[in-house]
């Protein structure tokens, strides 16, 4: 199996594939611990800075690395907006709440996932000292336990449904400080995790879809970019648990899992080959060779510039690695790419023997490095051009990754890339340190309260689709798209207001989707759409005008539908005005009408509609034209 990936035939059961999901979704309520609106804004009214000090455990221990990091003076700068945060989230006031609606929605989600609510909810403080939580901990609570999702491949457990607070948004990471925007902090987040009982890539998608449906059923989840975060935990027999973060689209889940399986299988092959060649981790030495002189007259612009600026070219030996650094492990990604990802903390890139000569580096230079390092036929090198200490740090990362390659697959957290591949992010997090949030009294959930919620569960998306077909007599495909694209709530609202279901559905689905290719349709808000339909219901625009209005709004979302309709001349004309325009058309074509009588109807209609499209109801035009021609034709 190569990069081409004929994975369709892979027997995942034999490979021992295990996948677990962790899904986070923002709730569309007030913030969790004080009634601040859950909105984001780029308007910054004020900033403040804080430091986070590692805390002492029961044994009087402080993580020495964390303390060292603190002493170096890492600062966190928070950007705030007066309206979208308050003292609670600035860690200047004890928490209130939690938001009762958020708690109730989480209970609904629990029931929809066949879970059982706990009897009493206890919020905990989960220590997080990267600054993303101003307090230095995230508040989180288990709301329901023991859920499950049934799939054709078997049942998958949902051990916990948690309610927690979202963290700050990162704006910029600098050497000694990190800048965060605080508006996102405190938005309620439902966290659903599954057991690692998913054994097929497609099964993962089915489970994620089921969970997603339960979330959407509540109609209280946020939509759009960044409101949903899906993480995958993937491992195969002999491989390692790899956590993949930031999977945006449901459809990508199987591909990402397939690619991760492919990666782990290829890394295991590399390991086997290295074993065969007889290399051990301790054979890779932290020895840096200064090969700057080899590149004095190099054609590589990057290296030449580094040398000119006083930097050095350093190399390390990777014994027995020749041919393996360049081995593809995911389409377009090699072991060398993984080494480069690790080194990225320090340098923009590395050069390895398997890809050279290239990038302006010529064979003679490669040979000179081989000679200088005394490399045998199977040995490899990696080069870094940078300031000396930086280059050493980068190469230390390369060495670390090379040693891991001898052991197999490293456990790590990886980031999902848009093409389905993944990229190194950081080591797997350790076990969370948690202790009770004593500022929030525990919340007792009386049995009768649970019963009430259970008896009033919202309709699941599948049921909703069937109801639309039945009640509104719209196409199955329209109904499905409305629900799956989360336009259903708006759809029902429009129908409630008196829009014909077929029209509402076709505008929301056909028209908006059709425009997707031309304009950034995501800029058109529900508010825009509501407004346009109101104009229509008031008889101010024709249904033909929607397309034009949404197109303009997509490009200029700051405008209102009414503004656009007026600017573009899309408002409907009064009957007198329509009649006047039709009279004009008739006068211009009076000879033809006289000659052809009703036979001129099509042509006159065409000319009239050319002037009136979007500004008059077609039926009205047609009846007026007919009446007038009949009169002339006598």
């Amino acid at each position: 199996m190569g990069a081409s990936g004929d994975l369709g035939r892979v027997n995942y059961e034999e490979l021992g594939l295990k996948v677990g999901l962790e899904i986070h979704r923002q709730l569309d309520t007030f913030k969790l611990f004080s009634p601040v609106p859950s909105d984001l804004s780029d308007e910054v009214d004020f900033t403040f800075e804080r430091r986070l000090r590692p805390t002492m455990s029961e044994l009087g221990e402080i993580d020495p690395a964390a303390l060292e990091e603190f002493k170096k003076g890492r600062k966190y700068i928070y950007e705030g907006n007066y309206k979208l945060t308050d003292l609670v989230y600035m860690d200047e006031e004890p928490p209130r709440g939690p938001d009762r609606e958020a708690l109730e929605v989480t209970l609904q989600i629990g029931y929809l996932l066949n879970a059982k609510p706990v009897d009493e909810v206890h919020f905990m403080r989960k220590i997080v000292i990267d600054g993303s939580n101003v307090s230095g901990f995230q508040r989180t609570a288990i709301v329901a336990v023991n859920g499950k999702v049934d799939t054709p491949w078997g049942s998958v457990g949902i051990p916990t449904v948690c309610l927690e607070e979202d963290a700050c948004r990162i704006v910029e990471r600098r050497e000694r400080e990190v800048i965060y925007r605080i508006d996102r902090l405190g938005i309620p987040l439902v966290e659903i995790s599954t057991t690692p009982d998913i054994h097929h890539p497609e099964q993962a998608k089915v489970v994620a879809k089921y969970i997603g449906d339960a979330l959407r059923a509540t109609r209280k989840v946020k939509r759009g970019l960044g409101t949903i975060r899906q993480d995958l935990n993937v491992s195969i027999k002999g491989g390692a648990r790899v956590e993949i973060k930031g999977v945006q689209e449901l459809d990508m889940i199987p591909l990402i899992i397939e690619r991760e399986v492919e990666r782990q299988l290829n890394l295991l092959k590399i390991r086997d080959e290295l074993k065969k060649r007889g290399v051990k981790p301790e054979d890779i030495k932290e020895e840096f060779y200064d090969v700057t002189d080899v590149f004095q007259n190099t054609g590589s612009k990057i290296i030449a510039r580094t040398i000119k600026n006083g930097g050095k070219v350093l190399a390390v030996r990777l014994p027995k690695f020749r041919g393996l650094i360049g081995k593809e492990i995911q389409p377009g990604r090699r072991l060398g790419t993984e080494m480069a990802d690790r080194a990225k903390k320090y340098v923009r890139g590395i050069f390895h023997i398997d890809e050279l000569p290239n990038y302006g580096i010529i064979q003679e230079e490669v040979n000179a490095v081989i000679e200088k390092l005394g490399l045998g036929e199977e040995d490899a090198f990696v080069l870094v051009a940078a300031e000396e200490e930086t280059a050493k740090n980068a190469l230390r990362e390369v060495i670390k990754r090379a040693k891991e390659a001898i052991e197999g697959v490293p456990e790590e957290t990886r980031r999902a890339l848009p093409d389905g591949n993944t990229q190194y992010m950081r080591p797997l997090p350790g076990k969370a340190r948690m202790y009770p949030e004593t500022d929030i009294p525990s919340i007792f959930l009386p049995p009768e309260e649970k019963e009430r919620i259970k008896a009033n569960l919202p309709e699941l998306p599948q049921e909703r689709i069937e109801r639309y077909i039945r009640e509104y007599r719209i196409d199955r495909s329209l109904a499905e798209t409305l629900v799956n694209d989360e336009r259903d709530e708006l759809f029902e609202e429009l129908v409630e207001k008196g829009v014909k279901p077929s029209l509402a559905a076709s505008i929301l689905v056909v028209v908006l989707k059709g425009l997707k290719k031309e304009v950034p349709i995501e800029n058109v808000t529900d508010e825009h759409i509501r407004e346009a339909f109101e104009l229509y219901l008031e008889g101010k625009i024709a249904k033909e005008a929607f397309e034009e209005i949404f197109k303009e709004l997509a490009l200029h979302p700051e405008k209102t539908a009414k503004q656009v309709a007026e600017e573009k001349g899309l408002t409907l004309l009064s009957e007198e005005e329509v009649e006047r325009i039709i009279d004009e058309v008739i006068q211009q074509n009076i000879e033809v009408i006289k000659a052809k009588g009703m036979g001129a109807m099509g042509m006159i209609m065409g000319r009239a509609m050319a002037k009136l499209r979007g500004r008059a109801d077609g039926k009205l035009v047609s009846s007026l034209v007919r009446k007038k021609i009949q009169k002339i034709a006598g």
Binding site: R50, E58, M90, D119, V134, S135
Partner: protein, 440 residues
């Protein structure tokens, strides 16, 4: 009455930290939990048993729904932690005693049970806030452990004596860790009780508990220690200067007040500018040069104090009744928090006259907090003066209360009380009202 949870734990022989398996009913189904038994929350109704699951989360299980409980493993005796009370001295560093009065400036968290323990031995402090041990040789001493709101005059006296003892035995400064609610009162009390002060006395606290990474405790303590080895021989409050973890302010003990229920920068100087801005790295920016300088000589404690003193707030509708009550109960002094320039309703004046006739000292401050009282502007004020009210200039009501208790500890002669109340002992009165002392 015994709570259900206490009764349940007793009946099943459950101890905190025991690993248990609990089976409970949920509708027609059964749910099983495995985890550690947690102590029931104080004052909770006690209908649930709290279990810490293996993933670190706590949940509550309704006791009435529990079908069975099985102890899988009894809790192990926690290893008793011993920390050294004193650490070896470092040559060439000044010496600072830190007196603990309650609350925590450092704490240890047991992530297994969630318990937070105060940490006050030298060794624990050195681990939690190692920076202060680079500033001075630190001797921590826990005086008592009370909530700030339970503070009372007898404790002020003990703090004053312990402080003087430390300073007179050669310490270069004293830091007093104190709950923030009544820190301003204690600062004022020490300002009057510690006479001939020749070294710094610094009160410090925190607005965010020390168990959290964002706590202000460590930074405040470092800055307090910096001020304790500084040149300022006054009683000061050192706390965050702004919401950011940038600098602290050193406030004069008689002119400082807690002005916000929860913010880190809650302590503000009122009617005066702070003494200094101080940074953790040792930088001190003095905002004034009229502070008392470090010097030689024994510190004396003058702790005579009359506890029968009260504060009375004026509001529309108030009558003389409250004051009458105080007089009848044998109170010796009352600080009135008057309206505006220092007023009470006119129909309260007879009660004030009666109080003064009974030998009760009646002092006037303003509920505006900012600004100076002046009883000469309106006729009400003039009537109050005539009734024998002592106008307390720009003193904070709380400071005036503490001062009146201290003054009455020395004399009950109202004329002498009036003279002493208007004598500036510890920077509690400024001679004239500067423009740059409002809302800073």
């Amino acid at each position: 009455m015994k709570r259900k949870v206490d009764e349940f734990m007793e009946r099943h022989g459950l101890g905190v930290g025991d690993l248990v398996r609990v089976v409970k009913r949920e509708g027609d189904e059964r749910v099983t939990f495995e985890g550690l038994v947690m102590p029931p929350y104080e004052l909770s109704p006690g209908e649930t048993l709290t279990i810490k699951l293996d993933n670190g989360y706590n949940i509550g299980v309704l006791i009435d729904a529990i079908e069975s409980i099985e102890i899988l493993e009894k809790a192990k005796e926690a290893p008793k932690m011993e920390f050294r009370e004193v650490l070896p001295r470092k040559e060439g560093l000044p010496s600072v005693t830190i007196l603990g009065t309650g609350g925590t400036i450092a704490s240890r968290i047991d992530y297994k049970t969630g318990a937070v323990h105060a940490a006050f031995t030298a060794e624990e402090l050195a681990k939690a806030v190692p920076e202060i041990f680079d500033i001075a040789n630190i001797t921590p001493k826990l005086l008592f452990n009370i909530m700030s709101e339970d503070m009372k005059p007898e404790y002020w006296k003990r703090i004053a004596h312990e402080t003087a003892k430390a300073l007179n035995s050669g310490e270069d400064g004293v830091v007093i860790a104190h709950g923030t609610d009544t820190m301003g009162y204690t600062a004022a009390a020490l300002s009057f009780m510690l006479r001939n002060l020749t070294k710094p006395v610094v009160l410090v606290g925190s607005q965010r508990s020390s168990d959290r990474p964002s706590s202000d405790a460590a930074m405040n303590l470092i800055c307090a220690t910096r001020m304790a080895v500084s040149d300022v021989a006054e009683v000061m409050v050192v706390m965050h200067g702004e919401t950011s973890d940038t600098y602290c302010l050193a406030h004069r003990g008689t002119k400082v007040r807690k002005m916000h229920t929860s913010r880190r920068d809650t302590f503000r100087s009122i009617n005066d500018i702070p003494i200094a801005k101080v940074w953790t790295d040792g930088k001190i920016e003095y905002l004034r040069d009229d502070y008392r300088k470090r010097g030689e000589g024994e510190v004396e404690v003058d702790d005579r104090f009359e506890e029968k003193v009260a504060i009375l707030k004026i509001y529309p509708g108030v009558t003389g009744e409250l004051l009458e009550f105080l007089v009848d109960r044998g109170y010796k002094g009352v600080v009135i928090e008057g309206t505006g320039l220092g007023h009470t309703p006119n129909d309260m004046i007879p009660a004030i006259e009666r109080a003064v006739e009974n030998g009760v000292a009646v002092c006037m401050t303003s509920q505006c907090l900012y600004g100076r009282v002046n009883l000469n502007v309106y006729s009400t004020g003039r009537r109050l003066l005539k009734a024998g009210v002592i106008p307390c200039e720009d003193m904070l009501p709380e400071t005036a209360y503490v001062k009146l208790g201290w003054v009455l500890g020395h004399t009950d002669d109202l004329e002498e009380v009036g003279r002493m109340m208007l004598t500036n002992y510890a920077g509690e009165i400024t001679p004239y009202t500067k423009y740059n002392t409002y809302l800073i």
